[in-house]
């Protein structure tokens, strides 16, 4: 189903530059994208609240404002593909299909959590879904992604490994080493740089002499482009184009998604490094408001449908909180379980 031409809203899905490669953008898929983004948004809003209630502790890094990136990219993946992310990975986990109950239980540190509660917000894992964390060392997952892709390639698998990281990670030596290795060995990796303009309080101009991450990637011979990370359709289209190429054997690619985090870096951030106006400007072009407004303007989303989506999400989140509340903490006696493998694998 072709999408009706946009009216007066800013976003123009028709004009999207991946016209030919555009994935199947029917109404139900757009509803699905919206729902996924809303799920993440509301899940995290709930988490923020639970944090003030001290149900969730430690560091909590919200993805609010950046949902289009994880949701868009994840659409192009199959279960055989592998995913790695950062400490800001609730969105990726949910978009990858992890059970929200388990994710919320993880936030609570409960044994029913996706990592038995041991990892918390920053370390959500699900090896069944090939979701390999949740890494709290900036750029720490990039070498792992190279290795996972190498293993897939050596085993003749057609999988893609997707590795998400912030633009702050680009300054780390691991970025450099990993891109070079991936290209040298023509590995099936999609690097996704979530360029939200800041690494904690450090603006990109303070951390990179070359501020176009996709240009940096090209200097390693990777195919790379920048995409509007606030536009889930653009993200999906670009990711699909790249994943298809990677599956055809074209080697690693990098997608730079221009985005913004609406909240502080973590719950401790006083945000002295940016103005409220700047935040407001970005919020106005947020990924959810953008898609939702466009759908509504084009009569592709009734208020009843939206209502339905919202209430399904609310129910899911309530269920997840309930699940997490009810869940047990891991017994202290199991503290050392799985430090090493019990028997041969």
């Amino acid at each position: 189903m072709k999408i009706a031409k946009a009216g007066r809203v800013a976003m123009s899905i028709e004009d999207s530059k991946y016209h030919t490669d555009k994935p199947h953008m029917d109404k139900s898929h757009l509803h699905y994208l919206l729902k996924q983004m809303l799920r993440i948004r509301h899940f995290e809003e709930k988490c923020a609240q639970l944090y003030t209630e001290q149900k969730i502790r430690g560091f909590l890094h919200l993805y609010i404002g950046e949902e289009a990136v994880a949701v868009g990219v994840m659409q192009t993946l199959s279960p055989q593909d592998a995913v790695l992310a950062t400490y800001r990975e609730h969105g990726h986990a949910l978009a990858r299909g992890l059970d929200m109950n388990k994710v919320m239980a993880e936030m609570f540190g409960k044994v029913s959590g996706s990592s038995r509660g041991r990892g918390g917000s920053m370390h959500i894992f699900d090896s069944e879904r090939r979701f390999y964390g949740g890494n709290a060392i900036v750029a720490g997952a990039l070498p792992l992604a190279v290795g996972l892709a190498l293993a897939d390639k050596m085993q003749g698998k057609k999988s893609v490994t997707v590795c998400f990281f912030g633009e702050g990670a680009v300054a780390e030596g691991e970025f450099h080493e990993s891109l070079n290795l991936a290209k040298l060995w023509q590995l099936p990796v999609l690097f996704v740089c979530e360029n939200n303009g800041y690494a904690m309080g450090t603006a990109l101009a303070i951390s990179e002499s070359e501020q176009h991450v996709y240009l940096k990637a090209q200097s390693y011979g990777l195919q790379a482009q920048t995409v509007d990370g606030m536009n889930v359709v653009d993200v999906e289209a670009a990711a699909k184009q790249y994943c298809d190429a990677i599956r055809r054997g074209a080697g690693p690619h990098l997608l730079e998604c221009k985005t913004y985090r609406f909240r502080g870096h973590s719950m401790f951030d006083t945000q002295l490094y940016r103005s409220a106006e700047e935040v407001k400007q970005w919020q106005d072009k947020g990924p959810i408001v953008k898609l939702q407004t466009w759908l509504q303007a084009n009569k592709l989303l009734s208020s009843q449908q939206l209502q339905q989506i919202e209430s399904e999400i609310e129910e899911e989140i309530e269920g997840a909180v309930e699940f997490a509340e009810q869940a047990e903490f891991e017994a202290e006696s199991d503290l050392c379980w799985a430090l090493y493998t019990e028997k041969e694998v």
Binding site: R118, H123, A136, G173, E208, T270, E332
Partner: protein
Amino acid sequence: MSADTANSNKPAKRQENPSLTYREAMRLAMEEAMLADERVFLIGEDVGNYGGCYAVSKGLSTEFGAQRIIDAPLSESGFVGAGVGAAIGGMRPIVEVMTVNFSLLALDQIVNNAATLRHMSGGQFSIPLVIRMATGAGKQLAAQHSHSLENWYAHVPGIKVLAPATVADARYMLAMALADPDPVILFEHVMLYNNSEALPQPEDCPEMHQAALREEGTDISLITYGGSLGKTLQAASILAKQGISAEVIDLRCLRPLDTATIFSSVEKTKRVLVVDEGWRTGSLAGEICALIAEHCFWSLDAPPQRLCSIEVPIPYPQHLEQAVVPKVEQIVAMATESVVKLDTAQ
């Protein structure tokens, strides 16, 4: 973040002996150093615009500008190595590596350059570098953000390692480190930043390399440092109520170790428990037990004991995190056992 009570424009306040937090003391020390010596500058991730990941340098960039409070990109190896180079080049850099966890990325520069170049070049130059980093567990930050690796640094000849555990030491040890012509690494335990104390006079502070007797006692020596000092002092006061007189030694300087103070305490008390948040095997506590076994063997009335962290990546949930690190009750129990066992043996 609590308000800043340190303010260079009101020096009078300082003489009133105000109480400060550990965080404020550390900032005051940096401010003072930067005012006193224009070769001093601070560099690290988010030390400027953000104010420091633990808010230690908050306000300094306003006072000194981006030329002296330098926000570095995420490039630990790069900017730590740059600190080494700048020190060789005549500056007095303070490099903040947010936490010891990330310092692994800079270890090569620290071990193979900072610690090595002076000796290996035949003593041609010094490297007056200070590296500050947060360390330790307690904030539920999980396995990759809760390391205590002071022992690794204390292993390396060519550097000195400090672990200020009190507000006074936060206030005065940085100055000592900056006055030292060689690379000094300063560990700030994350659980200390909000601690508040009235400051003693600088003259009342021990020298940089000296351990401090935080509590005098006769029955057992409790030796500790950094984030475990508070727990150990608590344990000592519980022990006192039980009639056990515990001496508490705060190492302060982890390299070189003040063995004279350690040995004379143990010779007196004849029993020792070392409390250390590092993982047990290969811990600094192990080193201290070994030193004591070697040097005080004939004085000991009980085996040297140590209480360390359980050897496991530190989990996120509070009950498990607390299960890993040393606890007050454990200190009390182990100290009591050590003393009581002796009584039995007699």
